[in-house]
């Protein structure tokens, strides 16, 4: 009884998980510019840290009461059947996301204090420090709304909120980049690609309301689970539109194109938003809607295929990239493909498991990449002369950083091995669980994912050898040095998580599966598949060996071509040019769309509406009408009536005043005559 009461108190704290980041944001907006970087960083980080504490309390409470709770915060929309309220939903699935997001966010916030301190100086605009943390806190708040939502509409608010923050932070250096506009264009691209997905989400909500009459999760799922065969088409449509939403937010085929460009944002943004948290929102949403997708088998298969295809496709592109962050961006797309495939074959636990471990090691990799970039930029500013045209992200300009940045190298290696799936690091367990499930449930997906896993190990090996081994290929890399502890400490923390994260759901223990079972219902538990694990580990080791052969044994020389180009020939230029997908979209969608909008603007809007309809028809017609009304109707008719009444009254009163003579006797006579007439009327008539 006592424990139960306490559990309820803990659940009541849940809304604070949204409130703390918002409070931090408001404090920074109001006082940030005056009180300096130290204060801003401390407020932002502790706001997210407090949210993390709340998340831990929810975890504790869920241990006691695994059913979770719904904490109503406020009424929102109640129109007819539609009843969407602000309700925080605590269950094992949302608590998993809360823990992961706030935990990783806290580390990245701390890292960002150090990183942005350097970044705003290297870019020459220290005033932007506060703005960065305001956006960052807003992002965490929006993400918390997304994961704690109890209905699709509230989830959509968070969904849009994180999209907005993503846009704001990709364009954080909006006046930089190619032509002084490339970063802003990247932000816009992300926003528009996401809008396409959001459109899918919206349509899915409309359809769901038509079918289920509610957007609340439980009610919608009850409807989907109990719907008859005549509703199957509607459910499939809902699932497909939700999938469109997920492909936008989680950067899957066909909408993945925005994520590589999103690397224009500062590196903590890439780590937090575009690797660990926001891009996993689509996976979370599909895992949350497991019942809906379970009722639409065809849509689920499409989800799995899209995920597997994206995983392989993005992995091939990652092989040919030279920008250290672009490699990681394509890797993220590929890994999100793994997760999507997992939730598509209804292995939600494996998907969520990979989501969490991926958040650890991909955030780690991005932050380490940021550390590498900062180190190289320091090296760049160390020397004199013109640095224009030097790209500190370019792996061809790096090399030999192993000795100069020891901590960064160690954590980067940890992250890379975890991503490549080398046991016993986190990535091995989570990726292997997806592969094992796929081999069991959907062999085609299994083959695609295994190939993607092979390429993953290869491009990570290539990156490690290019960046950290061999000799420095530029003087900037030669003078690079390690970053201060404020930057390296969070890296070590994440490295530990990336190393031991597999412990969340060890084969045989299945603690995460048991934990998520409370929310997802029965989850089938697959025994550890030694064959699958053996094959994937062997392939990963083989790929790393291959990478060593190409990049490690004989390190790349300065200005040399990629050795892979000799082997693959024209295929490599396809890879390096990202299979010309951006160009293809340009021809297919962007150019026709621009042409259409130009035509609409110039011909339809300007020539037709403005010149003809407005100027000729409406304006001229109106002028003619008003002229007729004023000259003919008003002057000749209305004024004449008014003047006539006045003249008539004047004439009449002139005549009437003659009656008033002023002679008393004439009045008396009139009275007398009147009286006589009156009396004669009474008497004789």
């Amino acid at each position: 009884m006592f424990l139960e009461a306490q559990t309820n108190v803990l659940f009541q704290l849940a809304p604070w998980i949204i409130a703390f980041p918002l409070i931090g944001m408001i404090i920074n907006i109001v006082f940030g510019q005056r009180l300096g970087e130290r204060f801003v960083g401390a407020v932002a980080s502790s706001a997210v840290g407090l949210a993390f504490v709340v998340a831990i309390l929810q975890f504790v409470a869920l241990q006691a009461d695994s059913h979770g709770a719904h904490i109503p915060v406020a009424e929102w929309i109640a129109i007819g059947k539609l009843d969407a309220s602000w309700t925080v939903r605590i269950d094992t699935l949302s608590a998993t996301m809360m823990l992961m997001v706030t935990g990783v966010s806290t580390l990245i916030h701390i890292y960002a204090i150090g990183y942005m301190h350097e970044d705003v100086r290297l870019q020459g605009d220290p005033g932007r420090f506060t703005r960065f943390f305001v956006f960052f806190n807003l992002f965490v708040a929006a993400m918390m709304i997304l994961v704690s939502a109890d209905n699709y509409l509230m989830m959509f608010v968070g969904w849009e909120g994180v999209g907005l923050c993503s846009y704001l932070l990709i364009g954080f250096w909006y006046d930089r980049g190619e032509g002084g506009i490339a970063n802003a264009v990247a932000g816009k691209k992300a926003f528009i690609a996401n809008r396409v997905g959001d459109f899918g989400f919206l349509v899915a909500m409309f359809l769901m309301f038509t079918g289920a009459g509610s957007l609340q999760f439980d009610q919608a799922f009850t409807w989907a689970a109990g719907a008859g065969p005549e509703q199957a088409g509607l459910i499939t449509a809902i699932a497909l539109f939700l999938l469109l939403g997920a492909t936008g937010k989680s950067a899957q085929i066909p909408l993945y194109v925005w994520l590589p460009d999103a690397m224009a944002g500062p590196t903590p943004v890439s780590a937090l938003i575009h690797a660990a948290t926001m891009v996993t929102a689509g996976i979370y949403m599909i895992a949350r809607s497991a019942v809906l997708f379970g009722a639409a088998a065809g849509a689920s298969q499409l989800v799995a295929l899209i995920g597997a295809a994206t995983a392989l496709f993005a992995a091939t592109i990652a092989v040919g990239q030279f920008d250290i962050k672009k490699v990681l961006a394509y890797s993220t797309i590929s890994q999100l493909g793994f997760m999507l495939a997992a939730v598509g074959i209804s292995a939600q636990v494996a998907g969520m498991f990979h989501l969490v471990t991926h958040a650890f090691f991909k955030a780690l990799l991005f932050l380490s990449a940021g550390s590498v970039i900062l180190g190289v930029e320091h090296g760049l500013h160390h020397q004199d002369g013109d640095h224009a045209g030097f790209n500190p992200n370019d792996m061809r300009e790096m090399g030999g950083l192993r000795k100069r940045m020891k901590v960064t190298f160690a954590v980067y290696l940890t992250g890379a091995l975890a991503l490549a799936g080398i046991p016993p690091l986190a990535g091995f367990f989570s990726k292997d669980e997806i592969l094992a499930e796929a081999s069991h449930l959907f062999p085609l997906v299994y083959i695609l994912l295994t190939l993607a896993a092979f390429l993953t190990a290869f491009y990570m090996g290539r990156q490690i050898f290019m960046v950290f081994f061999g000799k420095p290929r530029s003087s900037a890399a030669e003078h690079a040095h390690e970053n201060p502890p404020l930057i390296t400490m969070p890296l070590i923390g994440l490295a530990i998580l990336a190393a031991i994260g597999g412990g969340l759901n060890l084969p045989g223990l299945h603690s995460l599966a048991g934990w998520l079972e409370h929310t997802l219902g029965h989850t089938h538990i697959l025994e550890f598949n030694f064959q699958v694990a053996g094959i994937s580990t062997a392939l990963a080791l083989l790929a790393i060996g291959l990478a060593w052969l190409l990049y490690g044994r004989k390190p790349m020389e300065k200005g040399a071509e990629d050795p892979l180009k000799r082997i693959l020939g024209p295929v490599f230029s396809g890879i390096a040019n990202k299979w010309w997908i951006d160009e293809l979209y340009g021809v297919l969608f962007i150019r026709p769309y621009t042409a259409l909008s130009t035509w609409l603007a110039e011909v339809v809007d300007w020539k037709f509406w403005h010149d003809w309809v407005h100027d000729s028809v409406i304006a001229k017609g109106f002028r003619g009408l008003t002229a007729w009304l004023s000259m003919d109707v008003d002057l000749k008719v209305i004024d004449a009536i008014a003047d006539g009444i006045a003249r008539l009254t004047g004439a009449l009163s002139e005549r009437m005043s003659a009656l008033q003579t002023g002679y008393v006797r004439s009045y008396a006579l009139s009275m007398f005559v009147g009286m006589v007439l009156l009396l004669s009327y009474i008497l004789f008539v």
Partner: protein, 105 residues
């Protein structure tokens, strides 16, 4: 002494007509006033004569009350009227009603 009703009514009619003629014909304001008094008293005479003959006598009483009322009103009217005439005389040095016509239209 019993005077017949017709005689009283005839006298009253004669007095009333004299009053009307006086108002219409005479130009002296005081005489006009006196003529008005003549008409009022003609009416009083009719009231009195009817009050005397009507039965029951209680209803006739109201005719006599009316006469007193008219005498009182006539006295008040004369007081106001004479005051007006005095004022007019002060301003115009005349009480000829034909010369007082500044309110004409």
């Amino acid at each position: 002494m019993n005077i017949p009703m017709e005689a009283v009514l005839a006298l009253s009619g004669v007095l009333f007509v004299l009053g009307v003629l006086g108002v219409l014909i005479r130009r002296n304001a005081i005489v006009v006033f006196m003529s008005i008094e003549l008409m009022l008293n003609a009416a009083n005479l009719v009231f009195i004569s009817f009050a005397r003959t009507i039965t029951p006598a209680e209803i006739g009483l109201s005719g006599q009350v009316m006469v007193f009322f008219i005498i009182a009103v006539a006295a008040a009217e004369v007081a106001v009227g004479l005051a007006l005439i005095v004022t007019i005389f002060k301003a115009k040095k005349s009480i000829d009603v034909d010369q007082i016509h500044s309110l004409h239209g």
